[in-house]
């Protein structure tokens, strides 16, 4: 009898052991609205793609949970007195997924490849910068002019293995407009914490943990399965039914439902992107308006009137359901220390009417507005709200809202800036103010320069541009921030743009998963823990 119970107990223990011991592989399933279109890290400069590839590839630097620059494949770097030479010390004992060691040659190779024709990341490294090998783990970067933000974008300048690229005919980057199939678009070989196990473009990508990674993993995952799910309703349903653990984005109208469900919740916070309105301030007569022979937007009073006519709090509460942070500046406060010193002018429809009357438009005027309807959160609804608010001060706005494919074709440089009044969103790729000052707020008067290429209405202020040029080369951070503040003050004084808000991030996350949400909307699962 006794032996029998003992046997039973032993059998029971064995059963328990057999179920508990082969530790269950932890798989995190993640669905995004968009695809992972190319595995070549130099093809498309887009947040989602960069975040995906950040699991597999690494840059010389990394950005932490709060976007601070941290050492990555470079352990440290030193800048010479004159600011023209950066000495970069590389991490030792790092291996690519194929087993090749990571050395200075790989960095020099990647610096050439990232600037080659067809790369969408050419601005990651200045064209004149020369990479010189000091030894296997030290590199000197020699610059033509000082550049205090040289390494600001190195976190998404991913380093490739030179031998691997040469062996697989992948020395040239896969161009965005590839006309021949490319090996590196379908295969990856990085140094990162995950390897690509399989990749079916537009269908499914499986990442397996890299056990030989040099760092100490914060996650507890063995596998990440990524599926693109384009349909909003299906993506939310997949989260609610527990078929996926993380989705991005959750549509605004579904946030309540996800939060009230038993197994998932929404993580939200302000995104770095600033949504704003811009005016054509360069043509002598607007393309889409009943005002003939002059351009009302050249008058700062009209721009000020538009600014004051917009009730941003109503847009926030009604259109964005509370999920927006009104902005006073063209850059997110997370990215510029003095942003808090700026304040939006108060909503003042009476003042707006008076300003319009002063400018000679007592009876208002008509103007056409361009707006995308599938690019930003509730973009078309924001524009409709703007239309009705401007109607209250006597301006009749004819709204033209179209899908992004048509919208960008019309308003960007390729469409000859074919707009009078528009809504756009912008995240500075460098996470630095200079990008906004140069691309969005810079004068478009020199055809040779790329300054102001995204300044669709050509807002122009010479003093602002002089400051921008100084900011580019100023190495002293305190002085530099002061100059940035002055430059932004110029734009604010001119009412050059109407910043509206930062839209909110909305990630749907299973209650079993702990995740860190970074404000640039990068879903980085190497910080994820799953029960």
């Amino acid at each position: 009898m006794k032996t029998r119970t003992a046997l039973l107990a032993a059998a029971g223990a064995a059963l328990l052991a057999s179920t508990a011991f082969p530790a269950m592989a932890v798989t995190l399933r993640y669905a995004n609205q968009g695809d992972l279109k190319s595995l070549d890290p130099y093809t498309v400069n887009e947040t989602t793609t960069n975040a995906h590839l950040g699991h597999v590839y690494e840059g010389l630097t990394k950005r932490g949970k709060d976007l601070k620059i941290e050492p990555g494949l470079a352990e440290k770097w030193e800048i010479s007195e004159d600011g023209l030479t950066w000495r970069v010390f590389l991490r030792k004992n790092v291996k690519f997924h194929n087993g090749n060691p990571f050395t200075a040659d790989d960095v020099i190779f990647s610096a050439t490849r990232v600037r080659a024709p067809g790369s969408n990341f050419q601005t990651r490294v200045p064209s004149g910068a020369e990479f010189v090998k000091v030894d296997d783990y030290t590199i000197d970067v020699k610059l033509k002019s000082p550049n205090p933000i040289l390494n600001y974008q190195w976190d998404t300048w991913y380093i490739l293995d030179k031998e691997w690229a040469e062996a697989n005919n992948a020395v040239a980057p896969t161009p965005a407009a590839a006309t021949t199939p490319s090996y590196s678009a379908l295969n990856a070989n990085g140094t990162g914490p995950f390897k690509i196990e399989s990749h079916q473009p537009g269908v499914k990508t499986v990442f397996k943990v890299n056990k030989d990674w040099w760092g100490k993993p914060e996650h507890n995952l063995d596998e990440i399965v990524f599926t693109p799910i384009g349909s909003d309703a299906t993506r939310v349903a997949a989260l609610l039914s527990g078929e996926v653990d993380v989705i991005e984005p959750v549509p605004l109208q579904d946030i309540q439902r996800v939060n009230s469900s038993a197994n998932a919740q929404v993580m939200s916070g302000p995104e770095l992107r600033t949504i704003f309105l811009g005016f054509d301030q360069t043509r002598d007569e607007l393309l889409f308006s009943n005002v003939k022979g002059k351009n009302p937007f050249k008058d700062p009073k009209v721009r000020e009137a538009f600014f004051k006519a917009i009730d941003i709090e109503t847009i926030k509460s009604r259109v964005m359901r509370g999920l927006a942070t009104p902005s006073a500046l063209m850059i997110a406060p997370e990215l510029f220390v003095f942003a808090k010193d700026f304040e939006r002018p108060k909503y003042d429809p009476e003042g707006a009417k008076k300003l319009l009357a002063d400018a000679g438009y007592a009876n208002g005027f008509e103007v056409g507005m361009d707006c995308p309807n599938d690019r930003y959160v509730n973009d078309e609804a924001i524009c409709q709200a703007v239309v009705s608010m401007l109607a209250r001060v006597g301006v009749k706005v004819n709204l033209m809202a179209q899908p992004k494919a048509q919208y960008f074709g019309k308003v960007l440089k390729s469409g000859n800036y074919n707009t009078s009044f528009y809504l756009l969103g912008w995240t500075p790729g460098t996470f630095d103010s200079h990008n906004v000052l140069f691309d969005i707020e810079g004068c478009r008067d020199n055809a040779q320069s790329s300054r102001g290429e995204s300044n669709l209405g050509n807002y122009c202020n010479k003093k602002h541009d002089e400051l921008t040029d100084k900011i580019l080369v100023e190495g002293d951070k305190a002085k530099r921030d002061q100059m940035i503040k002055e430059a932004f003050q110029e734009t604010v004084k001119d009412y050059g743009y109407i910043p509206l808000h930062q839209q909110a991030l909305a990630w749907g996350v299973s209650k079993k998963v702990k995740l860190n949400q970074r404000a640039d909307n990068s879903v980085l699962l190497y910080w994820a823990r799953k029960e």
Partner: protein, 330 residues
């Protein structure tokens, strides 16, 4: 007879080429309204010079007729170009997606035929019963509710609320040569259920209504009365004589509608994230991926042409009266 048939097939093949060319011309004429592909390919902060480079390398600067001629020239050699989004040959991408769409279309058609015929026969024979009225109502719903709504309703009922069926994807697939199939795994089968119902519901109601009407018609004919008079069993009359004669139009419908099932799979595939050709096409439209759009439209046109041709040839086999008209075209 033989030469007549051959001439008929050759004539139809020439017509088919005409149809494909027309579809191609219309497609290319419309692509420029889809937007500028370059803006979809590169990021917003890409310098204009780089954008121009992309535009040139894609040949988008050439006039539309030149682009079309170049496309035809390459397509004739079997080269359908490289997708702008995925940097892979379009033919590879489509070949990868064909099995998913075909298996879905097949299941949807089988579902529609089996249930359509059963419900049609029942409501034809017992048209006053409560169940027949229920079928009629269901068929109204199937015909009037849009596909995407049915799909979403099914997802909320069976995936979110009950948790029985997966809400997206194909489940696990098995690769046999170049074909991937979901028929060999349990998760593959469960993933097929809701998309097949969603896609097949419209055809099912169509078939049910046709069978019902035909049954009512046939049951009034003289030979059925004679069969009754001869004292045959009801079972033999209904299924041996009446149903057989109702099936000719049903076969026609099922055959001709198979092309539509493949084409309309676009919506079902989008709702269920079904990795077939339709989903690929929808993503291509959003991203102005012209090579995929062009190849898909041509492929669907080809499928329609082939199915129509097959149905026409089958007709002549089934119905001897048609053979004479083929020999002497009016």
């Amino acid at each position: 007879m033989k030469t007549g048939m051959l001439a008929f097939i050759i004539r139809r093949a020439l017509q088919a080429i005409g149809v494909l060319l027309t579809v191609g011309i219309i497609a290319f004429a419309m692509f420029r309204f889809a937007g500028d592909p370059v803006n979809q390919i590169v990021s917003l902060d890409t310098p204009a010079a780089e954008r121009e480079q992309v535009r040139l390398s894609l040949g988008l600067d050439d006039p539309v007729p030149v682009q079309f001629a170049r496309y035809l020239f390459r397509a004739a050699q079997g080269d359908f170009g490289v997708s702008y989004q995925f940097r892979q040959p379009v033919s590879d991408l489509l070949a990868e997606r064909v099995p998913a769409t075909m298996e879905l279309a097949l299941c949807a058609t089988i579902f529609a035929t089996v249930f359509g015929v059963l419900m049609g026969v029942y409501s034809g024979l017992k048209r006053d019963s409560i169940l027949a009225k229920v079928f009629q109502t269901v068929s109204l719903v199937g015909i009037s509710l849009p596909t995407f709504l049915i799909g979403i309703l099914l997802i909320y009922l069976f995936s979110v609320t009950l948790g029985w069926l997966p809400s997206y994807g194909r489940g696990d697939t098995v690769r046999i040569g170049w074909w991937t199939t979901g028929f060999l795994t349990l998760s593959g089968w469960t993933a097929l259920i809701m998309p097949s119902i969603t896609l097949g519901l419209f055809q099912m109601t169509l078939i049910m209504r046709i069978v019902r009407a035909e049954m009512l018609e046939v049951l009034r004919t003289d030979y059925i009365k004679f069969a009754r008079a001869r004292g045959l069993t009801t079972r033999a009359i209904h299924f041996g004589h009446a149903l057989k004669n109702t099936l000719v139009p049903v076969i026609t419908i099922v055959g001709l509608q198979f092309g539509s099932v493949i084409a309309f799979a676009i919506i079902t595939e989008t709702v269920f994230q079904w990795p077939g050709m339709g989903l690929l096409f929808v993503q291509a439209v959003q991203n102005v991926d012209i090579p995929i759009m062009a190849a898909y439209l041509m492929l669907v046109a080809l499928i329609f042409v082939v199915i129509n041709l097959a149905v026409d040839i089958l007709y002549t086999v089934v119905d001897p009266r048609l053979r004479t008209t083929i020999r002497q075209p009016a």
